[in-house]
């Protein structure tokens, strides 16, 4: 018989070891993708993207303060969403046939779990840590990266989820669409940010099209992968804690009693 201490060890330490070892093996080499590096955007454009990002981040911080008081169980969701956004937005995934690497965003998933404004704040924090310590993105381009990955990824993903749920799509299909469109919208926004700052005397939309087309062979399949990941995680959370998700997005998740075995009795 295992005593209480052995149970604690098995439950916590082994779980942590599995995660640590698993992630060590999953991180053989760093790779970069949608993040715009330090110095690529002119200062004026950096300031514009900072100003846009600040609006969403400030609203998001206020919402976090309010909703953590209102909704019990939001903190663990914040923890999961923040960690997942941080991890998968630096997770280099090789794309077969294309022979290139890129990463998903994680913010569409975050938006479904905690709402788009709060997901924006989590994305901004992830991008800040990456810019400071992982040579991934930049401080001057932080605002632009927040707008593309955190704001657009969250809001397009959230919007797609709500829209598909209105059509009575299943949780998986709606979350898949959120991941798919949120990912593609992030890269489309990065293309726009680059094109708007760098097109010079040339055509803005011509350059936007060229950059988006260059992203496409890598990001089209990765969008599908992000859709599968988002659909899988949202379905899993919904099956285990439907009441929690229905508190966050009441219209998309019908309030139901727990479907966990033995729950709701």
């Amino acid at each position: 018989m295992l005593n209480k201490r052995d149970h604690w060890f098995r439950a916590h330490i082994l779980l942590a070891l599995v995660f640590v070892l698993g992630l060590l093996f999953l991180y053989p080499t760093p790779a970069y993708a949608m993040h715009i590096a330090e110095g690529i955007l002119p200062a004026s454009w950096c300031a514009i993207w900072y100003a846009i990002a600040a609006i969403f981040v400030v609203i998001g911080i206020r919402l976090i303060r309010r909703r953590t008081r209102e909704i019990r169980g939001l903190m663990p969701l914040l923890g999961i969403s923040g960690a997942v956004i941080f991890l998968i937005s630096v997770f280099p995934i090789p794309v077969p046939i294309s022979g290139s690497c890129s990463h998903p965003c994680g913010t569409p998933l975050g938006a479904i779990l905690v709402g788009p404004f709060i997901s924006t704040v989590l994305g901004a924090l992830a991008l800040l840590i990456q810019a400071l310590f992982l040579a991934h993105g930049g401080i001057s381009t932080w605002g632009a990266n927040i707008v593309s990955m955190a704001v657009v990824g969250s809001f397009v993903g959230f919007g797609a989820f709500i829209l598909f749920r209105r059509f009575n799509a299943s949780i998986f299909v709606a979350a898949f669409a959120a991941g798919l469109f949120g990912d593609w919208a992030t890269y489309a926004t990065t293309s726009f940010e680059l094109a708007s700052a760098l097109h010079g005397g040339g055509s803005l939309w011509g350059m936007f099209g060229a950059i988006a087309l260059a992203f496409a062979p890598t990001q089209l399949p990765l969008g599908i992968l992000e859709g599968l990941f988002t659909g899988g995680v949202v379905t899993l959370v919904y099956q285990r804690r439907p009441e929690l998700l229905s508190q966050i997005i009441p219209r998309a998740f019908k309030p139901v009693s727990s479907v966990v075995k033995g729950g709701g009795r």
């Binding site: 790779a31 999961i80 890598t218 966990v260």
Partner: protein, 105 residues
């Protein structure tokens, strides 16, 4: 037809995925190859390529961890800490709640 909305929504997703796979296969030969060769990240093969063409180059980050194996270390450390946090909260949110429910039931 029992639920036309559901069928339409699922159909839209299927069509988009089929088109995306077709686009991926059709465009895969056009991936620009960066200086680092095959499997390069799109930040180098796309973002930096267009930035250099426009006369702008990426600067060194403020805290440059891209030196030797230091970057590999911080990536592994970040992955480990992030993985632990995700696992800890997943357990608090899902496993422990489910366990308590079973015990109460």
């Amino acid at each position: 037809m029992k639920n036309p909305g559901k069928i339409i929504a699922t159909g839209i997703v299927v069509v988009v995925v089929v088109l995306a796979v077709w686009g991926w296969l059709a465009l895969s030969q056009q991936v620009p190859e960066g200086a680092e060769g095959r499997w390069g990240g799109v930040d180098v093969t796309v973002i930096e390529k267009y930035a250099v063409d426009a006369g702008r180059e990426a600067r060194e980050p403020f805290i440059n961890t891209d030196q030797g194996d230091l970057l590999l270390f911080v990536f592994a450390l970040g992955g480990a800490v992030g993985g632990f946090v995700a696992g800890y909260y997943w357990r608090r949110l899902i496993a422990e709640k489910a366990g308590r429910r079973r015990a109460a039931g």
